[in-house]
């Protein structure tokens, strides 16, 4: 049924072929669960392989520590630019930071950065080599799907038909957050090693701007986390379980 669409038109064919492939991949690890009492059948798909789930949760812990210790580091000089003039921009409370003092916070930051980079790299490597990135990478063809999803989420619009594992807005979020992750590491290295990676600091507009970018990217990351958590609470019980067990019951994209 999927393949018959190939004949219709070139562009449409490529699109449906991708969708078909996604569905095909999924079906290789899908099961039909039979309720032994009622005989009712529920479908379930193995969505998230172990490596992805592991990276997700370890990275979540690492991000939490990086933000907490980062804010304690920021407390030591709550400003941007040179020493002069020094203006305290934000008086971030110590209770909402990790490490207790600058040295402690640096220990957390310089330890968990490797875990953060490690899980990010393994995740990215897995996505690329398994081909899984195709179902989550935001591409120009996904742009037109964004507005209907925004309308649905925020302005009570009708729910667009679900055809793929991830809708356009999800793809946008999960692609952006990977970009933010890479940028958080790049800006971090520009601050930590402004001489050895002077080209990185230069690309960010210098040492002072690198520190500002690092800070801004953290807030962008937190905005993603906020949206991510809100979505889990509002819509995502099935998604939440699937990030724990890998298995998602009754995925919408399989609905007939």
């Amino acid at each position: 049924m999927c393949f018959s669409e190939l004949a219709i038109g070139k562009i449409k064919a490529i699109r449906s072929f991708t969708a078909c492939k996604v569905r095909f991949n999924m079906q290789t690890s899908a099961v039909a669960i039979e309720n032994t009492k009622t005989g009712e059948i529920t479908e379930a798909v193995y969505e998230h392989p172990f490596i992805v789930r592991l990276c997700h949760w370890v990275n979540a812990v690492a991000l939490f520590v990086m933000v907490g210790s980062g804010l304690q580091i920021f407390r030591a000089f709550p400003s941007f630019g040179a020493k002069i003039p020094e203006k305290v921009l934000i008086n971030w409370p110590k209770s909402l930071a990790i490490g207790g003092w600058l040295g402690g916070a640096l220990q957390w930051h310089l330890t968990f950065m490797w875990i953060y980079i490690g899980t990010g790299t393994v995740y990215l490597g897995y996505q690329i080599f398994s081909g899984n990135y195709k179902q989550v990478l935001f591409l120009p063809r996904d742009i037109r799907g964004v507005w209907p999803m925004v309308r649905h989420y925020f302005f009570f619009g009708a729910k667009p038909r679900v055809r793929e594992a991830y809708n356009s807005l999800q793809k946008h979020a999960y692609t952006s957050v990977v970009v933010l992750g890479v940028l958080s590491v790049a800006t971090g290295f520009a601050i930590w090693k402004p001489i050895q990676f002077s080209w990185l600091a230069w690309m960010m507009g210098g040492f002072h701007y690198a520190r500002l970018w690092h800070f801004i990217i953290m807030w962008a990351m937190l905005a993603f986390v906020f949206g991510h958590l809100v979505m889990v609470v509002l819509h995502g019980w099935n998604n939440f379980i699937s990030m724990l067990t890998g298995w998602k019951k009754d995925p919408e994209y399989l609905a007939k």
Binding site: A32, F77, K83, L102, Q107, L110, T111, I195, L244
Partner: protein, 239 residues
């Protein structure tokens, strides 16, 4: 069309997958202080190890034009104890020891007789701020040569008039921008900035750049690493 299984099988399958994630819970062990301390030390040690690999001995820190300099009056004075440990300049010497051929007391004049280098470089504090200063002095590498230091030794360790102490890896000690600094802004060092002799190391963070030097030791073993390092800061902290 799919493999058909019953509910119980699905539950046990899900449980098995969930249990695979238990290593994540192990991260919770970091909340226990006795586990946390050594693990964070390990992490910091790993960062230092990686930093040593990233350090390129031939790569120079950016230098700046005179117009970029932070005015001298605004160059911060950071101490751990006193601004002025009241060094007696007339009797001051740098006491050299360790794996060197010519240990002993060196006068400031002997250091000033070495080729003089001036550089406008960024001084970066571990707190996150930075200033651009003008420093002048002799290359530490030149001094190490005249004292006949074993350049394959691992560290150069210094002690200061205010009981501050610091250590440097040999690769950084031999870096061409690492200075035994006796001038700032073309004037002799002031007491607050570490007279008569301080370290200026553009490739290191500020706390490594000890002031009011009194002792210098070339060694393979460190009893103490540095005043701040021994309280938990990074040992290498190269920029």
């Amino acid at each position: 069309m799919y493999r058909r299984i019953d509910q119980r099988k699905f539950k046990s399958m899900s449980r098995r997958e969930l249990l695979k994630l238990t290593p994540v819970v192990a991260l919770g062990a970091l909340a226990i202080p006795s586990v946390q301390k050594p693990l964070l030390r390990l992490g910091l040690g790993f960062s230092d190890w990686a930093s040593k690999l990233m350090f390129r001995s031939g790569h120079l820190a950016t230098t700046f034009s005179d117009s970029d300099l932070t005015p001298f009056e605004k160059f911060p004075i950071n101490d751990y104890d006193v601004d002025d440990p009241e060094v007696d300049f007339d009797r001051w010497t740098l006491t050299v020891s360790g794996t060197v051929q010519k240990p002993g007391d060196y006068r400031l004049g002997q250091i000033q007789a070495l080729p003089k280098f001036r550089q406008n470089t960024r001084h970066v504090c571990v707190e996150g701020w930075d200033v651009i200063g003008r420093f002048g002095g002799a290359r530490l590498s030149d001094f190490l040569k005249i004292i006949g230091a074993d350049l394959t030794a691992r560290y150069v360790y210094v002690e200061c008039a205010d009981d501050y102490y610091e250590s440097l890896d040999m690769a950084t000690a031999l870096h061409p921008q690492t200075l035994l600094c006796y001038e700032m802004y073309d004037q002799p060092l002031t007491r607050e900035h570490g007279a008569p002799l301080r370290l200026n190391i553009p490739t290191k963070v500020g706390y490594k750049q000890a002031k009011y030097l009194t002792d210098l030791k070339v060694t393979n073993v460190l009893q103490r690493v540095g005043y701040w390092e021994d309280q938990g800061y990074s040992e290498f902290y190269g920029l």
